[in-house]
Symmetry: C2
Subunit: 343 residues, 2 copies
């Protein structure tokens, strides 16, 4: 009766599956509930609302000692609306809930919201609500993003089809490289606290910016709209390429063949990996928070896309066989089992 | 430059005002952002979306030792949709985010969601999303409620007019009375842990239910719709009558005259107050979480309402003068200053 199963024994995805199964009531206007980047709710014959909510916990999801609060406000707001963008929708507003430990001052909260408002200006959405409560634990920030989409243009995770090209916008691994640089600086700073050292971050500007001020691909959505191109599936890369690709494969019931050499990586990301003596492919395959878009698209649409947009790369193709095969630059293939819990 | 003002020195409402002032971007479809029970976003000429988000922190907003987890899931879900109901809207779905300490097991999470799903069945809304993350601190639960309303029928806090009747549905103070009973039982249980004691809660069934399983007034909304009656302002009583009335008065720029003897209090609530040697009026004026509706209404509409509904009480009237006057049963009046921070 009083059994105690730790969460990690079951895994987050299985837990969410269990929760979904318990559902007792369905509403007609809920087109899609749990299981994609955002829930989809019908407003009219042509328009839907999109809602996505995420919680960020200090020391788990962010580190106050490396992210200034206005950057954190910007980044978490953008991370939240990224889920709307991943559905091919545009954000309208966000609600921000803070559970504040008493080490956080009014000035810090104001800095945080400066970042939130700046994100809203860049992404053209409003802060529409939220609340502030106290906690004796770590700072917890919960953000809900609300947006709208043309119902016919929504891109789910579940639409990938065999032979579709697998593509990513921009480049990958930069955010994790930036995190590594910031953590190294912090360590160095801790060691030389007495001296007045200025962090040497200028030469790492690109990757540090990828970590602190992510770029959400609103431009790509505008292009899709202009060119009337619709990816067969899409997700934002928040957890890492392999993790997020697995979400598409599982939802679509397909597999993938990825060419590792085709994964776009910035020069500075490579430099950081070299300095850290890490394989840069690990950054690109498993590093999260790049917030680039991972999408699948028919060959015809891909060719049309090439004529109008050059900031994306084809990194593989969807296969009928339900396996995730990664082909290295040397031709060697590794097979990643994605039927098991991946998180 | 590096000044540190503790949050309590400024107060939550002032902080939220500061945050609002910083806003840099406005969207046309956002009819109302921060400052009411829910944000209002235009979907079409006649329909709007409503969004409200709230965070609940263990040991601050709830006590795991007195609320079984399925009750907690039920209660917090209902508390969240209560904000939609307070705008005269109907909930469609909620997102639930959990930040889980490792003392929480899979079984406990399942219990919690049983309560969430049960609330959805009662309130006819769906669990549409959310996430689960880990924390080293207390359990933090963040719930966003999404609903819809006829744009013309939305009841804001700001519409109260002089001479409007001030009314509440149901009765007040029951939830806080239930909490007092549960806390007393817990104390007694702690003292006699060795014996097998069964909590003696049967005789307190009404107030305990008010605390653990709040009743959201969907029935009142149906009636308003059927009778085509529209309150001039409305709010749910979550913080306590005086606190929530002050929100209406501040938003509407008016004052109120309250007749203490007219405030509806259940017999069992009075009995508990007697046992606890507390003035029951304190429960009714300041106790939160009753989730009844506090509304203002023109005299004509109030009379029409009386013909069709008897579960509400007129407790006072709106005045032009911006003061909150409470007239005791003995005729003595107290004047509550609500221009200052009230929380």
């Amino acid at each position: 009766m009083n059994s105690f199963t730790p969460i990690e024994n079951l895994g987050r995805n299985q837990l969410i599956d269990k929760i979904k199964q318990e559902e007792r009531f369905k509403r007609d206007e809920v087109i899609y509930g749990i299981g994609d980047d955002a829930a989809v709710i019908r407003n009219s014959d042509f328009e839907s609302s999109l809602i996505s909510s995420e919680t960020f916990v200090e020391s788990v999801d962010f580190d106050l000692t490396i992210a200034p609060l206005h950057h954190l406000g910007y980044k978490l707001s953008m991370a939240a609306v990224s889920d709307i963008v991943a559905m091919n929708g545009l954000p309208v507003g966000i609600t921000v809930n803070l559970a504040l430990p008493n080490k956080v001052s009014v000035e810090m909260v104001e800095q945080f919201y400066k970042g939130v408002h700046y994100a809203g200006e860049v992404g053209q959405f409003e802060l529409i609500g939220g609340d502030i409560t106290a906690t004796r634990g770590p700072l917890v920030i919960s953000i809900t993003a609300y947006g709208k989409a043309d119902s016919e243009q929504i891109t789910y995770r579940s639409g990938a089809k065999p032979d579709d090209a697998i593509c990513v916008t921009g480049d990958l691994g930069g955010a994790i490289a930036g995190l590594r640089v910031l953590l190294r600086e912090k360590e160095g700073f801790d060691q030389t606290e007495a001296e007045t050292t200025q962090p040497e971050l200028d030469k790492y500007e690109y990757v540090v910016k990828r970590q602190l001020l992510p770029n959400i691909r609103f431009d790509f959505l505008q292009l899709l709209d202009l060119q009337r191109i619709l990816p067969s599936s899409m997700i934002d890369i928040s957890q890492g390429l392999i993790h997020d690709l697995q979400q598409i494969l599982t939802s679509s019931g397909v597999g993938a063949h990825i060419y590792q050499a085709a994964i776009p990586i910035a020069t500075e990301t490579r430099q950081v990996a070299d300095e850290m003596e890490t394989d840069v492919d690990r950054y690109a395959l498993y590093g999260g928070e790049d917030f680039e878009l991972l999408f699948t698209i028919s060959k015809e649409d891909m060719e049309q896309l090439y004529n109008h947009f050059d900031d994306f790369s084809v990194i593989g193709k969807i296969t009928e066989e339900k396996q995730l095969l990664i082909q290295g630059a040397d031709g060697a293939e590794i097979n990643i089992d994605f039927s098991a819990e991946s998180n």
